[in-house]
């Protein structure tokens, strides 16, 4: 089934009776060449790029619930490549480039919208840090502009410029950044992988690994044993508990992050705006809801729900930045469980078990990474070598002293 404008018109005229499901619902086979554990954005993207590389390999994605039921369906949809460190910026810019061609490539509307991201600064020191970050971005081939307060005022006149404690002194703007429809991304990759022969198996939880003599031979699941040549784990906030089944401890704690959506409003917010002094970020969905969030709750959690103190803290940040937000009613609040890695950066690497690979530690920033993460993980699974943009994401970097501390705030996960 190919999507096109013509097709939409034809379906509109014939009562929308011709649309088909986007993927099959196959039974698990006894053996695969590649098994991807986790049917979130990263797992589906990995399967898609793997299948593109090897049309003939037998590939399956095993998802314990339904596709896209994890963080890919829970995040605040921001995509950007405004990173600073050499281990990070080329990877996220690679991802940004993939986003730019994504919808044409997989023939699916993921509502990628390059509406821009504006990071506000409130002190001279912060402005200097943003200038440095902008230069690092330019060096990696991304785009960046440093705005003065007048330019920020022209873009977003509703901000609280004269806040006594946090006056707005300018901002770092990346125009190519923006948002994408998170579910659409998962569905697009799922459909693309399915069309290339990948078995997407839902309601199939991996409950153990079979390891013989240091090598993986398959996975135990709620739907029986499945043999595999190679197994890639991409389970976002569940990495700790899944890898424990393979006898591994990770430099990761699982924490809850909450997100918020207001009632639908008229177009108000031009792009994504972040409040550099606290931790608050906001954008407006195409339906008009203000989508915003802030800090993690700050203690280990698998509860997929947060607590009131952080709701209070985030809304305070919102009120300080744009007082008019206080007039909007909050419609929904929810939480997602994320891996908080000890340096705030991801892990894409082989593991000590031969044939078992890990994609983890995305903290609260992994949605923007979905295309590059899938691409780099598929590259690693296929060739046993890291992709050129992901070479810094090694598992042993902590022990070797090569941590990638993007925020410069130390080893404690609750600081990222």
């Amino acid at each position: 089934m190919h999507f096109s404008g013509l097709r939409v018109i034809r379906e509109a005229l014939t009562g929308h009776k011709g649309w088909k499901p986007l993927w099959r619902n196959p039974e698990p086979q006894p053996a695969y060449d590649y098994i991807i554990v986790g049917g979130g954005g990263h797992g589906l993207a990995t399967a898609y790029y793997l299948a593109k590389t090897f049309g003939r390999a037998r590939i399956a994605v095993l998802e314990k619930s339904w596709l896209g039921s994890g963080n890919i369906g829970r995040n605040t949809t921001i995509i950007r490549s405004n990173y600073l460190l050499p281990g990070n910026e080329p990877f996220y810019e690679f991802s940004m480039k993939l986003w730019e061609g994504l919808e044409q490539e997989f023939n699916f509307n993921a509502m990628v919208s390059q509406r821009g991201i504006l990071n506000l600064c409130h002190t001279d020191a912060q402005r200097d840090a943003f200038r440095r970050r902008g230069n690092a971005m330019l060096l990696a081939g991304a785009d960046a502009e440093l705005l003065d307060p007048q330019q920020v005022r022209a873009m977003a006149p509703f901000l609280n410029f004269d806040n006594a404690r946090f006056p707005i002194k300018g901002g770092l703007l990346q125009r190519r950044a923006g948002t994408a429809r998170h579910d659409g991304v998962a569905w697009g990759y799922a459909r693309g992988a399915d069309m290339r022969g990948v078995d997407l198996i839902q309601n199939c939880e991996v409950t153990g690994f079979r390891i013989d003599g240091g090598r993986i031979s398959g996975v135990e699941t709620t739907r029986g044993y499945i043999a595999a040549g190679k197994v890639g784990v991409a389970v976002a906030g569940s990495s700790g508990r899944v890898m424990a089944m393979a006898g591994m401890r990770l430099p990761i704690e699982s924490h809850v992050l909450q997100a918020f959506v207001s009632e639908g409003l008229k177009p108000t917010i031009p792009g994504v705006i972040t409040f550099g002094a606290g931790h608050f970020y906001v954008s407006q969905s195409d339906k008009g809801g203000l989508v915003f969030g802030g800090d993690i709750d700050g203690y280990n959690s698998y509860a997929q729900r947060g607590n009131l103190p952080v709701i209070e803290d985030v809304t305070e940040g919102g009120m300080a930045l744009m007082p008019m937000i206080g007039r909007a009613r909050l419609l929904r609040v929810w939480g997602g469980i994320m891996d908080m890695s000890m340096d705030g950066s991801p892990i894409i690497d082989r593991t000590p078990v031969e044939g078992l690979y890990l994609n983890a530690g995305w903290c609260y920033g992994g949605f923007k990474a979905t295309p590059a993460s899938g691409y780099a993980f598929a590259h690693l699974l296929a060739t046993d070598r890291p992709h050129e943009t992901a070479g810094a994401y090694r598992l042993d970097r902590f022990a070797r002293g090569y941590v990638i501390d993007e925020k410069g705030v130390g080893a404690q996960p609750n600081l990222h």
Binding site: G240, R241, R249, L250, S254, G298, N300, A303, M342, A399
Partner: protein, 94 residues
């Protein structure tokens, strides 16, 4: 969340800051053989269980004591709290 402080009774969790796994009480000996590997593990690696977790909370806005709090990470239910000093004297966090 309310934390049952052993000396002060129920206190709001907002009065505390969180450090993480209570095993951080058991600091490796820096002079011992293999100290480098032991410290890399101590500083970075975590069990990260879904369920009962023993963890360190600092009563920063209260009596400035360190507590070992036992909490279920799947429900946020708090199952108990003791002074970290007492846990240490009993022979460590585990």
């Amino acid at each position: 969340m309310l934390i049952p402080h052993p000396l002060l009774g129920l206190r709001d969790a907002q009065e505390f800051t969180y450090l993480g796994d209570a095993r951080l009480i058991d600091r490796p000996d820096g002079m011992a053989e293999g100290a480098e590997a032991a410290f890399a593990e101590y500083v970075y690696l975590r069990d990260n269980p879904a369920g009962v977790h023993r963890e360190l909370w600092f009563h920063e806005q209260g009596d400035r004591s360190w507590l070992v709090v036992t909490r279920d990470t799947t429900t946020h239910e708090i199952l108990g709290a003791e002074l970290a000093r007492d846990a240490k004297l009993k022979g460590g966090a585990a």
